[in-house]
Amino acid sequence: MLEGAIAGLAGGGAYAALGLCLTLMFRLVRVVNFAQVAIGVIGVYTMAIASEHGWPYGAAALAGLLAATLVAAVLGWVMGKWFGEAGADQRSAISIAFLVGLLAVSYLVFGTDPRRMPGKFGGSLFTVDGITVTQAAAVCAVGSVVVAGAAWLVLTRTVLGLRLRALSERPTTAELHAIPSRRLGVGMWAVTGLLAAAVLLVVAPQQTSDQTSLALMVIPAGAAALVGGFTSLGRTVAGGLGLGALQGALAHVTELQQYRDTVPFLAILAILIWSQRREVWDAAR
């Protein structure tokens, strides 16, 4: 059970880091970006293709990160250009269209055949009492905490962070104070796209998943972000790690093993119903 929970931390760290992307996007550019992980998928498949063409891993990974950043920036530009004034609901609906479109593009460009994913973090880091901690689990878990810390520092301690917060809380007022909203929006998309690709570079080689199931990691990532109410970075990380550990632990219960992927849904439901239990009406008055 405990071994399973620790093994689940690799997935949990990924959920946490991807959940952070979702939280940052929702806080700063008012969108639940359903296409977040699909952007990362473009990156990781670019890496796979490049290394199949004989590129060294470092260069291939860099190309993948670059591709994801670029795709994210383009999508962010589209969002800013045509839906700058739209509400979170509409922008999120658009991100669903992005998801469906991006996956189709991914199948067009990279094909539907399974790819060999070269990776760097396949080995085990250390073993204590027969419980093995893999490198991927450590990188993901520590990485998500580091990213959350860095994001918190940028948001609270720098001028850029101040501008971003101003933009998210009072977009019109911020623009009246000459804060370039569209450029910052595109920047946010690019940075979270880069982050999503980096996460997938670590976890994708550890699992045999196709583009679709990788892209749908947005669901557990969304569950993690919901633990933080799409606002708290710390609780998002905790939620992601907890969800991963729970899934890992359930993998060791034979009766529930095949249903462990329903855990995100049940978690989503429980968290939302609890946090929104007082939201009886759609409008405040």
């Binding site: 269209a97 469906v100 969304g222 929104q276």
Partner: protein, 574 residues
């Protein structure tokens, strides 16, 4: 008016509302006879998707996004497969309907969180459900798959040609059902919920029932589609109902506009034929989803789907004609009334440390118009919210015509005879004037009654679309709707906001007539003191959450404490 409509469109008057279904059935019959079998199979797929999209359109009407439509379809398909394995009596048609019914509880289950969750949150839940359903389907598999048992079709729909006709008839029946439901009070409630939940409840309709019925019927549509698919392909697998297909279905619904029957059919055509056309042209079929994604983004950037844009253009957008206001005439003062109708005792409302209302006692007599005035922040709207049941934390007691209202939810209070209007514009834009009035009346009303109330307040014609009305007309329409419900008491929250001064005074004259004509007392909240003077038999003044004065308008408005509340200490002292 009606006669003129019929003369203008004689074809419609002969065939009536059955014209479109008749044409659709004719098209199906001709297609079944002449179209090659291969294309007919594809056309059947169009109809399967179209039925699922019709269902999706129902939650769309209610303003909710459902990303798990194919999970409901899987329930329908699973039911058909299981009944087939059992060789249950009734055959495929009965099984398909059973599949739709079996999907309904799942719809209700997903609808339950929707009572608290909206927008993005609801979308995340439905997406989570779709993914969870994927997992469960993969684990349990469809009945009969392991033993290669094909779903059996009855003799008369055994060939693909016959099955196409069957699917066509099922689609037409489902489309008629959806259109008919859209015209019922339930259908109007869906559109009203989309626009404002508060206003829906205030007009006597349960928001929970509206949302749950939308989800249940949407799931029913999906379940039918699943059953239809099971009969079409004979052997179903989890591949037919993946999460990503549910998302693609949603994207197509956004693009085509599945709230319209034509939109659902167009969406079905897109889903079935676009990949096929690409395949024949030697283009990778995955381009279809790219196209749908781009199409949905385009539709959202336009603010309307393909069908909605078309419908708006066909409607020949012209602002609805607002009738000339009736000339002002002296209608005298309303009677004071003696028998108490609404009795409020010790009403208190707190928001954290802020006391919004404190120990308010108020009696509104039967058959009168009473004014409620006070400066901004005095607690007038809080009082309205508390009386109509929106503030469950309110203390004290409220009695209407001898019946205690305490603890009753909003829609029950409305049904008990307490109606209110809103300061904000809360008339659902998706309806026509007539449909809105019928919905808000919450009882069956004759066309004569509708016309009477409409002309009484000077609202636009019944076939005008609320979308095309200016704010002032919408305010009057809201008042008309509340009157039509024949309430005992009607609370008007600043009905003259958005009206010109002359129009406000005309409205005041109408309000004076309300007790005698409609048998309702009026509690008028208004800043326009000219209007209050003209319409009200008595006035209550609220300041800082307490009643500071009450009595005849002229006398109350002359009191120094009232002037002080409105203008501040210095002005009142000079």
């Amino acid at each position: 008016m009606r006669l003129a409509d019929k003369q203008a469109n004689p074809a419609a008057s002969v065939l009536g509302p059955l014209a479109q279904p008749a044409v659709a059935l004719l098209v199906i019959a001709v297609a079944a006879a002449v179209v090659p079998q291969y294309w007919l199979f594809l056309a059947t797929s169009v109809l399967v998707s179209a039925v699922a999209l019709l269902g999706l359109g129902i939650v769309g009407r209610a303003g909710m996004n459902s990303l798990c439509q194919l999970a409901f379809a899987a329930v329908g398909a699973w039911t058909v497969a299981q009944l087939n394995v059992w060789q249950a009596p009734g055959g495929l048609i009965v099984w398909t309907i059973a599949g739709g019914v079996a999907a309904m509880p799942f719809g209700v289950l997903i609808g339950l969180p929707a009572l608290r969750l909206r927008g993005v949150h609801l979308a995340v839940v439905t997406l989570g459900f779709a993914a969870a359903a994927d997992v469960v389907i993969a684990a349990v598999n469809f009945p009969g798959v392991e033993t290669f048992e094909q779903v059996e079709r009855p003799m008369f729909i055994a060939t693909d040609r016959q099955y196409f006709v069957y699917a066509g008839v099922l689609f037409v029946v489902a489309a008629i059902g959806v259109e008919w439901l859209g015209r019922t009070r339930m259908g109007a409630a869906w559109r009203a919920v989309r626009f404002s939940e508060r206003a829906t409840a205030a007009s006597g309709t349960s928001v929970a029932r509206a949302k749950l019925s939308a989800f249940a019927l949407s799931a029913f549509g999906a379940g039918l589609a699943g059953g239809l698919l099971a009969g079409q392909v004979g052997m179903i697998t989890a591949q037919n109902f993946t999460t990503i297909s549910s998302l693609a279905l949603f994207v197509v619904a956004v693009m085509a506009g599945s709230e319209y029957v034509g939109g659902a059919l167009f969406g079905g055509v897109l889903i079935a034929f676009v990949p096929e056309i690409f395949r024949r042209a030697g283009i990778n079929q995955d381009w279809a989803n790219v196209l749908f994604g781009v199409g949905a983004v385009q539709a959202l950037s336009q603010g309307s789907s393909v069908s909605e844009g078309l419908a708006r253009r066909l409607r020949a957008r012209r602002p609805a004609r607002v009738p000339e206001p009736r000339p002002s005439q002296d209608v005298g003062a309303p009677p004071l009334g003696t028998r108490p109708l609404l009795e409020v005792e010790g009403l208190g409302v707190r928001f954290g440390q802020v006391v919004a209302l404190e120990n308010v006692d108020l009696v509104v007599p039967e058959g009168t118009v009473m004014g409620l005035i006070g400066p901004n922040g005095a607690g007038k709207s809080t009082l309205t919210d508390a009386l109509s049941g929106f503030l469950t934390s309110a203390t004290g007691s409220v009695t209407l015509d001898g019946r205690k209202l305490d603890g009753m939810p909003v829609h029950r209070r409305a049904a008990a005879g307490l109606r209110r209007t809103f300061q904000q514009d809360r008339v659902p834009t998706g309806l026509t004037v007539g449909a809105y009035l019928r919905f808000a009346a919450h009882r069956s009303v004759t066309r004569e009654e509708l016309e009477e109330v409409r002309t009484f307040l000077g609202c636009p014609a019944l076939n005008a679309h609320v979308f095309d009305l200016d704010v002032g007309s919408r305010r009057l329409l809201e008042v008309a709707a509340a009157l039509l419900a024949r309430p005992k008491l009607i609370i008007l929250d600043e009905p003259a906001a958005g009206l010109a001064h002359a129009e406000s005074l005309a409205l005041a004259d109408r309000l004076v007539e309300v007790p005698a004509r409609f048998g309702a007392s009026v509690l008028l909240i208004e800043h326009d003191l000219d209007m209050v003077r003209r319409a009200c038999a008595s006035v209550v003044v609220l300041d800082f959450g307490s009643v500071i004065a009450s009595g005849p308008p002229a006398e109350v408005l002359a009191r120094p404490e009232v002037a002080r509340a409105y203008l501040g200490d210095e002005v009142a002292l000079t």
